[in-house]
Symmetry: C2
Subunit: 436 residues, 2 copies
């Protein structure tokens, strides 16, 4: 794609009260909205009116009981919530996270094909392998399989899903009343997949969906995660803390995509963007300061513990951060582990320091400012090889309106973001090749 | 419940073109409706306007490639479709079939809790064990586990699901901004389930749903199926061919429910009702005759083969029906096997005879007539200990409107069916005890 035609991709990440853990306590949050379906439907319609590309739902398959005291859990199962949202929207993409470790490829392929039919071609699957060890215990296992094992299985899982989505040819339907032929059985195929992890005969019990196949999205930034994305995905979501890290990651992904035999343009890199928007810089900074005061450091420690696979229960917050094993030895979120390890290997820091200074919103790119200031940062990343767009996470849901009303038009004025949807399906709207 | 307060329960079974396999070929069917979401949304709203209790979606997890030529497959995954329907309806119940043999209890419990939240308390789970052997091959198995094994697993599956639905107490939410306490961690419980089939730690990653727990429905009529229903279910769907068989089944179920320590009223018996409605009897009979001419006997044979677990490929339709094994020896739909066995053991019959005479719409109760005639049969079954209501299956989707516009008001005139919904949740509307 020539630089002139290039345009930013923007997804909105749905959350109960905002991406900041303390957002539910902020006075601008209506407590009755936090779990209300209609609140999510309203956000979805508003995001569509602003022409956002997709809504995105992150997901996990376990909770830690003691964590519930610190803030809301999302709760809604992504495919059901997005099916509801699909019914009151027409153009916006709908991306759900589902793990390859705890479901069957036949069920997953069918669920996403169903959402793609329900939405008229707007479904996307964010494939994750699940990195939180306690999840294993909800599915009959003591521990998660190793990182390498999970990714080997994920790769075969994706293969099976793609075969199932392709098991009905586009023109299989005949519907000839006179002869009584409903569909052409020669255009529906068993897949007879046999692999180390899965044996699946097929065919899928749902016709080919409007997009040919739903969008593939990947959200892990380990070596295996990046390779999986380079081979299969159309979008990659990533956590990048600084512009330089973002540039490095971007170049790495594009190179891997080329190496996998695909055009580097065919995989779009979308860093997470935690954002606070204000009418003035002072207002934005004040909101960010308020939010910092509302977070629970104990809750952040629990998350850190889950993501690193380390038990901090014997430590106090002012103890020095323990030495982290080499990435290959830790069964954790590899890329996150690497980031924290870089910080703690540099000089002695306390656990509190890591939580407060280096780990805001899981370490993602983080901006508080006016619409213009936010757009400046986004443009800088976009124009200088660090992003094809962003997974937007308003730190406060109240800021979603500000982002949509102020930042999006500013990006449109700068010619960075389109004014209207190009088509009906998510693939059409993203300018991706149709899958026939 | 006293006989005076007793009222009929009516569910509408969703289908592409009607419950008759030839319905798609009937001139009253619009081919473009068959797979259209908006067609299902329209049916749902119309059924709600007529005050039907629930919509019901049957389901399977495999297709036979050569079957697709004979008629539509439903396709939509039930939880996603019902989440869409939930968004445009307010009162009608939403019952989805999901198998206990090919999913994880944690995922299932979460999916139904999510639908219950999305619908404001209208979700029901129809638990089945899957009896079609070829399904096994879509999930890494050569064959289905035995009937007995599947039901043992289903029972433990239901136990786990109930524990997970109960893992959040009703008043766990606190939402105290000042203290920063979001939920009371003492009111959210890991379940630590350990059994022969499942090991699940819990808690569920979604708050308690509006119904406390979604409705439990059971649809198998084998000995094990009936016992499972008697112990857990609130509705049982069944296939009954004659009034006498219906009475016998009804008495059997109520006795088993009492034996399980529950009030016989707490489990409602709903036979399937294949119905053709006409303005006159002649019109209804003519439609029924047209439909018989549109069915494919080859397709019926495939279904028979799947349900009995018998390969008919070496037979011609005019061969004598082969001898069936004793029920305990067949890994098939046990109750269906028993019904067909009773016919073929009585006297020699050809395969064609069984398909044409004894097996219309899987053998269910089957009526073609005026609204009054249809209501007469329903009243007879309802008043004389054969049914608490019906799972209504219009043989032609065009007849759904006739059923809703003519039969339902006739039942209301007779005082058999209520005029308005009693509450907001499915449990309230069915007059069932709340689950706190």
């Amino acid at each position: 794609m020539s630089e002139a035609n290039r345009r930013m991709i923007l997804n909105l990440v749905l959350s109960n009260a905002g991406s900041h853990r303390g957002a539910w306590r902020h006075p601008s949050t209506k407590l009755e909205d936090i779990h209300d379906l209609h609140h999510f439907l309203r956000l979805a319609r508003k995001a569509e009116a602003a022409r956002l590309d997709s809504l995105f739902i992150a997901d996990g398959l376990s909770i830690e009981v003691k964590a519930v005291q610190h803030g809301p859990i999302f709760g809604y199962e992504p495919l059901t919530l997005l099916s509801s949202i699909a019914t009151v929207t027409e153009r916006i993409g709908l991306i759900a996270t589902v793990s390859t470790s705890f479901t069957e490829p036949y069920n997953l392929a069918r669920g996403f094909a169903s959402l793609d039919h329900i939405s008229g071609g707007r479904a996307g699957w964010n494939m994750v392998t699940t990195g939180v060890d306690r999840t294993a215990a909800n599915f009959g296992l003591e521990h998660l399989p190793s990182h390498a094992e999970r990714y080997k299985k994920a790769r075969e899982f994706a293969e099976v899903v793609l075969k199932l989505w392709g098991s009905w040819e586009t023109d299989a339907l005949v519907q000839d009343r006179a002869s009584g032929v409903y569909a052409d059985a020669d255009k529906v195929h068993d897949i007879f997949h046999e692999g180390p992890y899965f044996s699946v005969r097929g065919a899928l019990n749902i016709m080919r969906s409007p997009q040919g196949r739903p969008l593939l999205v990947q959200a892990g930034s380990s070596e295996e995660g990046k390779d999986l994305a380079a081979e299969y995905a159309e979008l990659i979501f990533t956590i990048q803390r600084t512009f330089e890290e973002g540039q490095h990651f971007y170049a790495d992904i594009k190179a891997r995509t080329a190496k996998a035999g695909r055009s580097p343009d065919s995989l779009k890199v979308l860093p997470g963007l935690h954002v606070v928007v204000g009418a003035t810089e002072a207002e934005a900074q004040e909101k960010a300061r308020e939010l910092r005061g509302l977070g629970s450091i104990e809750r952040s420690l629990m998350s850190l513990s889950n993501m690193l696979g380390i038990d901090f229960s014997g430590y106090s917050l002012d103890d020095l951060f323990p030495k982290l094993p080499e990435p290959g030895e830790a069964n954790a979120y590899q890329s996150f582990h690497k980031m924290v390890k870089a910080v703690v290997d540099q000089r002695p820091v306390t656990i509190r320091e890591v939580l407060e200074k280096y780990w805001v919103g899981n370490g993602d790119l983080n901006i508080a400012g006016t619409a213009e200031q936010v757009a400046d940062v986004m443009e800088h990343w976009f124009r200088n090889g660090a992003a094809d767009g962003f997974n937007v996470m308003p730190q406060l849901n109240g800021d979603t309106d500000l982002f949509l009303d102020l930042v999006v038009p500013e990006l449109q004025r700068r010619g960075l973001f389109p004014e209207a949807y190009a088509g009906r399906t998510l693939r059409e709207n993203l300018g991706l090749e149709p899958v026939l």
